[in-house]
């Protein structure tokens, strides 16, 4: 295994870990840029496939990084990518956790929450747009994005896996009968 590639995987993902406000969705845009556009390790198509797989499997969305690591550099890549996405942010949470629980309900808690929430929301939309661009070849995927979003607002209790299965089935049907 190429050690340089592993180091590169780590140096791309670890900073994103510290910047992942709002969770995995904030890192899709920069990941796509680094891994597909700059390094050309995987194609846009593979990026989208791995995103779909990470969402269809149990576990947090950040396991997407594990899949990218595997695709680029096998088992070692998967392990390095997982450490890179989880270790930095986890250390921060661990470090701040002590201070945080001692100063429960303080004004700066509230200021941090109010200040960082809109940032997270903006980054989430950036991730949605990046992914939607990759997925939107033709009318059907765009329609699925819109309908699933609307259905999800209307009936939040429907299990996520049902949406994923229906989306996949629709696109397969379109492929099979076209």
């Amino acid at each position: 295994m190429n050690a340089d590639t592993l180091i590169r995987i780590f140096t791309i993902i670890a900073p994103l870990s510290l910047a992942s406000f709002g969770g995995a969705s904030s890192i899709y845009a920069p990941m796509q840029h680094e891994v597909v556009d700059i390094e050309k390790w995987i194609t846009a198509r593979e990026f989208l496939d791995l995103f779909a797989i990470s969402r269809a499997m149990p576990g947090p969305g950040s396991l997407f990084c594990t899949l990218v690591g595997w695709q680029v550099a096998g088992l070692a890549g998967a392990i390095i990518a997982s450490i890179a996405i989880y270790l930095p942010s986890s250390l921060v949470v661990y470090g701040v956790g002590h201070v945080w629980s001692r100063h429960r309900g303080k004004r700066w808690h509230n200021a941090l929450e109010r200040g960082l929430n809109p940032l997270g929301a903006g980054l989430l939309f950036a991730g949605v747009v990046t992914l939607a661009k990759l997925a939107s070849d033709g009318f059907l995927p765009i329609a699925i994005i819109g309908v699933v979003c609307a259905l999800n607002v209307w009936k939040p209790k429907i299990h996520p896996v049902i949406f994923l299965m229906c989306g996949g089935a629709l696109c397969y049907a379109a492929y099979a009968f076209a």
Binding site: A52, W70, S89, P118, A121, T130, A135
Partner: protein, 186 residues
């Protein structure tokens, strides 16, 4: 921490392993709450709740952040390490199996077309999360501005994420400071 109610690490592992295994599509923080506060009574509601805000404010996934916070309260750094490892072990192995299968699945006709549909549905759900996250910002001009600016910077102009956070984060917290309140204040 009351030494008489010291939670064994193996219990922490078991509990978070199951939570990780069945974790589809979010809502995990409430599940952790149910298991650790309601069912097992490892900690009080008052001990748990600050962790929810912490998990959301800090970088990283809120569910694993919350696991670290709970593990830390129960058993210090060993507890935190046990909780996050437990929560990720099943999903990590399942993801590896999926990634391994992916290469052979690529040869099946129609597989990639199907995955576009799965991805589109996942993007739709992500968008709904975005709509929910955006809703509380609409009432506040400066929060709206921060949200739109960070979206444009990263999503449209493709600025690198880390510098954007370093600039927008402090600005946004400073803007929120005048309207921020300590708990119990009117």
């Amino acid at each position: 921490m009351d030494q008489t109610r010291r939670v064994p690490l193996s219990e922490i592992y078991r509990t978070f392993f199951v939570i990780g295994l069945f974790s589809f599509g979010g809502g995990l923080v409430s599940w952790i709450y149910r298991d650790t506060v309601d069912v097992r009574k490892w900690m009080s509601r008052e001990d748990f709740l600050p962790g929810v805000a912490l998990a959301q404010v800090m970088p990283g996934v809120s569910s694993t952040n919350c696991a670290i916070y709970v593990g830390q309260i129960l058993r210090g750094w060993l507890g935190a390490l046990t909780a996050i490892t437990a929560m990720l072990s099943a999903p990590f192995l399942i993801s590896l199996a999926a990634a391994w299968a992916y290469k052979s699945l690529l040869h099946i006709p129609g597989f990639q077309e199907t995955m576009v549909g799965v991805a589109a549905a996942a993007i739709g759900m992500l968008m709904r999360t975005g709509v929910e996250a955006a809703r509380p910002q609409i009432r506040d001009i400066s929060a709206m501005a921060v949200m739109i600016a960070s979206f444009l910077a990263v999503g449209v102009f493709r600025f690198p994420l880390v510098p954007v956070i370093c600039v927008m984060g402090p600005i946004s917290v400073a803007l929120a400071w005048p309207s921020a309140k300590a708990e119990g204040e009117a």
